[in-house]
Symmetry: C2
Subunit: 433 residues, 2 copies
C-alpha cells in the first residue's frame, strides 16, 4: 500500500489510507485515543478505538514515528475536514527519553539558549519549520532571478590566503597543512575576477566574520548572497536590477509561502518602487522629522535605520529604502568614488524594516585608479597583490551587491534576532549542535 | 544606444549596433584591422577601416575591454554569418601588462600549474568557460530535481566542534575565538537531523577534507551535493530516486549545454536504466572478464572501477553502474547492515566513466541499533553524543547520498584531473589565487 501524505487525506474520504509520520499530539478520552500525526505536508487527525491498537499506543509519547492504516471519514471539526479511523498502528521508531521541549503548542515559549541547545527537536515545531520553508523559498527565488537574467552561478574558495577586505583582521584562522590560512569573509575578489570571465555572476555560499560580539544582528557564519555584474553604464544599473530582484522575491513568496507567513503572523509586503535617497538627504530627514542631529555623520546608527524605514513607509508606502553615496572613508577601498563629489562613493545599502539587508557599489575597474585610491588612503598594496593583479588585464566597468540570507529572512518574518533565521547558528558562545 | 550581445548581432543585419566586450583577437592586414570581440554570449567579428579608429587601436592588445559602434553586414565567412563594420571604438579598460597566457587559441596548451596560477586569465578561454557553464547547469538541475520532488533546501554549519565521520581526523582545524573547531567534512549529522524535521532535504555546499595527498581524484575543498530522505521503505528507494536524478540531469544538459559539450569534444550519454550489482558480483565479473583476483576484497581499486564501467558500457550500454553492499567494516558506523547478511551494508556507490561519483546508504534510525553497532565495532560513543542524541527522539527510516560536483563535472566532460573542474582549486600545495 502506498503512503498518503497528511495533506492529501481529505481527498480520500471513504477510502483506506496508509499514513506515516510523528505523533504530534495524543489525547486519551475514555476508550478512544485521538492522535494528530505530523508529516512533511502538515497535520492530520486520527482516531484509534480498537483494543489491540490502543494497547500498542499505551506507552507511546509524542514524537514517536508511526505508520498507521485506516479509513478516511468526513469530520468537519477535524483540520482539513476529515479524519482517519485507524485499524492498525505500527511503531517505526520509538522515543527513548522525555522530550526536552514541548513542540506541539502554538508557541514554543522558550528562551534562545533552549531554542538552540535543542535544535534537533525545536526545529520540528510548525512555526520553526515555517521559518526555514520561507528561507528556502527566498534562496530559490534569489537564484532563479539571476539565472533568468543571464547570470552564471559560481563557486569560489572559502579557504583563502588573505582577506580581500581587511587582509586578515576579523577572519578565522585555519591550520592548512603546514601553512596558515583564513576563512573567506566575502567572495569579493573572486566575484570580480569572475565578472571578467562571465560578466554576470552570482554565488550563494557561507561567509565568515570573526567579530567578537554577540548581537541580535550578527552571526559569525552566514549565507552570503552575492552578485557581480560587468558592463554596467552606472551604479544605477545595480539599483535597477535590485528593484527587480525584490519584486521577484515578493511575487515568489506570495505564490509559495503564503501559508507560512500566515502561520507566523508576518506581513508580506506588496511591491512598491523603492525610493533611492542619498545618505545626506536621509540625515536631513532624520533631523527634521525625528530631531536627530546626524547630518554629516559617516553612517546611520541602528535607530536611524529604524526611523528612516518608518519614514519611507509613511511617505512612500514601502518599508524598503535605498540609501546611497556613503562617504569614501567608510567604504572599502575598491569602491568607486563619485566623480562629481569625490568624498562620496557610488555605493548603496538597502534597508528593510529597520535593518541593512544589502550592501553594494560600483567598483573601480582600472588598475591605476586602484593604485591612486590606495595611495590617497595611505594603504599599502602588500597583501592585496592577488586582488590588484586582475585589473592589469582588462576588467569591464562593474559592480555588485551582497545580502545576508538570514537577515533577509529575519526581516521578512519580523523575527527579533537574526540567529532565529539560522538552522544551527554560530556565535562567540555557540559552536554546537 | 542599447548594448547588443555578440550572439544577437547576426539578427541585426543592416542596422547599427553597440557591442561591448574583450578584444579576443586582433589582426592587422593592410589598412584594415580585423577584430574578434568576446562577450558573455560568444564571439563576433568586427572590421575597422577608418583612420581615426585604427589610430585608437594602434597599441591595443588582446583582452582590452572596448565599446564599439558599427553597422552589421552579411558576411558568410564570419562566425554567425555577419560582421560589424566599425565606426567608433572606445577603450573602456586597457591591458597594462603582457598576458601571461595566450587564451585565444583553440587549446591553452599549458600545464596545470600555469593553468591555476593564472586562473583569472585562463578562465576567460572559451573551453575553460565552457567547463564552468556545464558545472552551473549540473548544479542547477541537481537542485531543481530535488525541489520538484518535495525536498527542502537546508544550510547547515561548516564550523563544527567535531566530525560526524571521524571525530576530528583529516579535518582542518580552526581557531574559533578561544576554542578549537573544525571545518565540516560532511553535513551528515545535520542532514539526518533535518530529515527528522522536513523528511526530505538537500544541501549544496562546500565540504572539507584535510587529506594530505595530491591526486587527480581529490581536492581539499569540494562542493558536496547532499540529499537525505525519510520514510524510505528500503535502500532501493534511494537507488530509484538516484536513477531519476541522473535522467533529469542528462535531459537538462542536452537541453542547455549541448554547445559546451561540442566545444569540449565530450560525449553526453543517453539515459539508459543504470544496472545495480553487488560488490561481490562486480568482483566476480572482474575476475572472469579481466583476470583480476579481487573477490572478497573490501573495496574496488581505481583500475577495477575503470574496468567495471567499461564492462557496464559493453554489456548494458551505459557508463554508469551502481555497486552495492559494501562490507560493514569499510563503511561509516551509521550505515545500516543488511539484516539478511550482516557483514554487508545497505550501501552503494555510483561509478561513472571509471570513477566513484556518489556514495550513499540507508542509515540506522533506532537509538539502540546505533549503540549496538558501535559496541560491536569497539567504538566509544565519546565525541558522537550530538550525533546520537537525535535518535532518542523518533527518527524515521531514512537514507541519503552525496556527490562531489567537481567529480561529476569532470566525468561528464572527461577531464583528466578533478581540479580542472574547480574554479580555484585548493590542494596541499595550492592556496591561491
Amino acid at each position: 500500500m502506498k503512503r498518503t501524505l497528511s495533506s492529501q487525506v481529505p481527498k480520500s474520504i471513504g477510502k483506506e489510507v496508509l499514513v506515516e509520520g510523528w505523533i504530534h499530539k495524543i489525547r486519551k478520552l475514555g476508550g478512544i485515543n485521538f492522535l494528530v500525526i505530523r508529516d512533511r505536508s502538515g497535520l492530520v487527525q486520527a482516531i484509534v478505538g480498537g483494543e489491540e491498537a490502543i494497547e500498542k499506543l499505551k506507552d507511546l509519547t509524542t514524537e514517536t514515528v508511526v505508520k498507521i492504516i485506516g479509513n478516511v471519514v468526513k469530520e468537519d471539526r477535524a483540520p482539513g475536514g476529515a479524519e482517519i479511523h485507524v485499524t492498525t498502528v505500527e511503531v517505526l521508531s520509538p522515543v527513548k527519553e522525555d522530550l526536552p521541549v514541548e513542540i506541539n503548542k502554538k508557541d514554543l515559549n522558550v528562551n534562545l539558549d533552549t531554542l538552540f541547545d535543542w535544535r534537533p527537536i525545536t526545529l520540528r515545531a510548525p512555526k520553526q519549520r515555517a521559518i526555514f520553508k520561507v528561507q528556502a523559498e527566498i534562496l530559490s527565488a534569489w537564484r532563479d532571478f539571476f539565472k533568468e537574467n543571464d547570470f552564471t552561478e559560481i563557486n569560489t574558495p572559502k579557504i583563502v590566503e588573505a582577506g580581500a577586505e581587511t587582509g586578515g583582521a576579523e577572519m578565522f584562522e585555519i591550520k592548512y597543512f603546514k601553512k596558515k590560512a583564513f576563512l573567506a569573509q566575502s567572495p569579493q575578489l573572486y566575484k570580480e575576477i569572475m565578472a571578467g570571465v562571465f560578466e554576470r555572476v552570482f554565488e550563494t555560499a557561507y561567509a565568515y566574520r570573526a567579530e567578537p560580539h554577540s548581537t541580535s544582528r550578527h552571526i559569525n557564519e552566514y549565507l552570503s548572497l552575492d552578485m557581480e555584474m560587468g558592463f554596467i553604464d552606472s551604479w544605477m544599473d545595480l539599483i535597477n536590477i535590485h528593484q527587480e530582484l525584490i519584486k521577484f522575491i515578493l511575487e515568489s513568496l506570495k505564490k509559495n509561502a503564503k501559508a507560512e507567513f500566515e502561520l507566523l503572523g508576518a506581513t508580506l509586503p506588496e511591491y512598491v518602487k523603492i525610493p533611492v535617497i542619498k545618505l545626506r538627504e536621509a540625515q536631513e530627514i532624520l533631523e527634521k522629522e525625528y530631531g536627530e542631529k546626524c547630518v554629516g555623520e559617516p553612517d546611520l546608527e541602528p535607530r536611524h535605520e529604524k526611523q528612516i524605514c518608518e519614514y519611507s513607509n509613511k511617505k512612500w508606502g514601502t518599508e524598503f529604502i535605498f540609501i546611497t553615496h556613503y562617504p569614501s572613508k567608510k567604504r572599502p577601498f575598491y569602491t568607486m568614488d563619485d566623480p562629481e563629489s569625490p568624498e562620496e562613493t557610488l555605493s548603496f545599502d538597502l534597508l528593510f524594516r529597520g535593518l541593512e539587508v544589502t550592501t553594494g557599489s560600483q567598483r573601480i575597474h582600472r588598475y591605476e585608479d586602484h593604485l591612486e585610491k590606495m595611495r590617497k588612503r595611505g594603504m599599502s598594496t602588500k597583501g592585496f597583490e592577488d586582488y590588484l593583479n586582475v585589473f592589469k588585464y582588462g576588467m569591464p566597468p562593474h559592480g555588485g551587491f551582497c545580502q545576508g540570507l538570514e537577515r533577509l529572512t529575519a526581516r521578512f518574518l519580523e523575527l527579533d534576532n537574526v540567529k532565529e533565521a539560522s538552522l544551527f547558528p554560530r556565535d562567540m558562545n555557540r559552536l554546537r549542535p
